[in-house]
Symmetry: C2
Subunit: 350 residues, 2 copies
């Protein structure tokens, strides 16, 4: 057996970067050689305590040292050493960072906050794993888009049209000063919102419309999903198709009392998930409704962590380590414990 | 000219009751002979200061007196004296109160929190004014249902189907202990939510589906509306049809900066509306979207006051004072200043 251990780096250590780094540490196939940080904060100390090496801009070395963190080297050096870089910088910064990756000729995974043009392919595992095989630059789409695409690409039959109303969380838990506080805000002034365009960067052939409002919560997004689809599809078929990747999990509020985003996160906390992360789309089964050729349901999406499995999957494709998407799903799910929430849900019925 | 001045009473002086009482005081056609209160609180003092007479249960007379409010008499006496009673009691209490109205043979208007069976007709002005003419017991449907029905019944062409996602406020401003605080809650565990059933109590012929979630705000509900309708309807036609009653007002976020429920209420406050009430559906024009035979948009509904105009309208029907719904709309709109928000909006463009 050949041991695969590809050297990867994470550039940016915020909401997404720290989660990708932790996920990499859980895989056997990739070796995290370090993460970059651009300014000192407590997360640098926590990273060092975990054994993660920190790389910083040359002019910041003193700042980190004076705070008790000895950088391993410069960011330029980190990029040079890595075979694949996860760009987890704030939105639009990835485009600028790309010059560095180009200079060193490295593979790079970008996040959904970047424009699609940054990459050769916009990506979501269940939709287009194979089109990322061997690619040097791939963009993993954002949280709401990932939530939508997992549904659409799990189906055996393409819907004729889709409408998703997104009820977005206002901020992540740590973003204390973002609002709204007591208002419902138009996320996009138009229908469709930008999410529909983002879906189309991955699958162009299904007409998807999205409407999005922002509400004063920090925990998860909620999506009211409507599929216009072949009338022969029954709800049981749908549940079976959606469930087969383990990336979509079904929760019945009647039997579990789980009827809010808060209660979903409580389950993740009780399950021992790091940072209460929920990698799975959580579909409320009792909302599943079929009328003629129209199927609707409500699902919740954990904005901070939903894209992490796809970020791991994509490395297998880009580096040409695996051509079979189902084996990749198995590997990533197993590394991250993605089956766990599903198993727990099946046990918490009243 | 015959002077009409029908004696009306308001039974229950909470969120809806106090607003109906104030609205009655603004009409020339109805005389408010008093309101009932079942336990003392500061609103009794405010009512007396406005010249509104208070009626209380016999056993509560002392309680009110000791708080400095001299009741005018008992609730039974109030009902006896009135020709028409607005039942504005907490949900499901109206059914019990009906015995009193039956005993005295009085007309009664019930609110949407009561089961439809309490009344002969479930009512929304733009849909079925004439079916309330001469009726003794009519139920004015609830806030979200009123918001939906105003749209559907303003249209010249019936949609083939309708889907509304409701993003509900968690509580009214004074309901300090209602949640959720930082969660998105399934309002109904099922699609359709109860709102679809309530719409059908007024108009049965259009298939309406509703999905509803609750979010941590106090100000207004928001509805994402989808109409499947004759392809020939253009957005301009739709705006014209919806606007003709003045009960639906269009706001363009691009030109007014009004893109949240909070900013809508700020406009109502600046406009001098009592309690910042917004009697109108507020449709965000920039969200209007037509794709083939499907039209969607986002609107906001002020849960505390949206039903007040319909409560006034219905009295003209029940007491057979007016058969022409357009003249009724004119009267009520004029009494409540319903045109004002529309006029202001047209002036606040950048």
């Amino acid at each position: 057996m050949v041991e695969i251990s590809v050297k990867v780096a994470v550039n940016g250590y915020g909401t997404i970067g720290k989660r990708i780094a932790d996920a990499i540490l859980k895989t056997g196939d990739f070796k995290l050689i370090g993460v970059s940080k651009y300014s000192f904060d407590y997360s640098a100390i926590l990273a060092v305590k975990k054994g993660i090496k920190i790389f910083v801009p040359r002019e910041k070395i003193e700042e980190f040292r004076s705070n008790g963190v000895e950088p391993e080297g410069t960011i330029d050096y980190l990029i040079e050493e890595a075979e694949l870089i996860y760009d987890a910088s704030p939105g639009k910064q990835g485009v600028k960072n790309k010059e560095l990756y180009l200079k060193h000729g490295k593979f790079a995974v970008f996040q959904g906050g970047e424009p699609p043009e940054v990459a050769e392919v916009s990506y979501s595992t269940l939709c287009n794993y194979t089109s990322a095989i061997g690619r040097k630059y791939v963009r993993v789409v954002s949280c709401n888009t990932t939530g939508i695409l997992r549904i659409l690409c799990s189906l055996n039959i393409k819907p004729t049209s889709v409408f998703v109303t997104i009820v977005r969380r206002a901020s992540d838990p740590r973003e204390d000063t973002r609002g709204p506080v007591n208002s419902i805000l138009l996320d996009s002034y138009t229908i469709p919102s930008h999410h529909a365009r983002d879906v189309k960067t991955v699958i162009g052939e299904i007409p998807v419309t999205t409407a999005s409002v922002v509400v004063p919560t920090t925990l998860m997004h909620v999506q009211v999903f409507q599929l216009n689809i072949d009338q022969s599809i029954q709800l049981d078929d749908l549940v079976e198709q959606l469930g087969k990747s383990n990336r979509v999990v079904f929760v019945d509020p009647y039997y579990t009392d789980i009827d809010t985003t808060g209660k979903i996160l409580e389950l993740a906390r009780d399950a021992g998930r790091t940072r209460n992360d929920v990698y799975e789309n959580i579909v409320f089964t009792s909302t599943l409704y079929k009328q003629g050729g129209s199927i609707s349901f409500i699902q919740a999406i954990h904005q901070e962590s939903i894209v992490i499995p796809e970020n791991i999957d994509v490395a297998y494709a880009m580096l040409n380590l695996e051509t079979d998407v189902f084996r990749v799903l198995e590997k990533t799910n197993s590394a991250l414990g993605v089956g766990l929430i599903k198993d727990l849900i099946s046990m918490v019925g009243k």
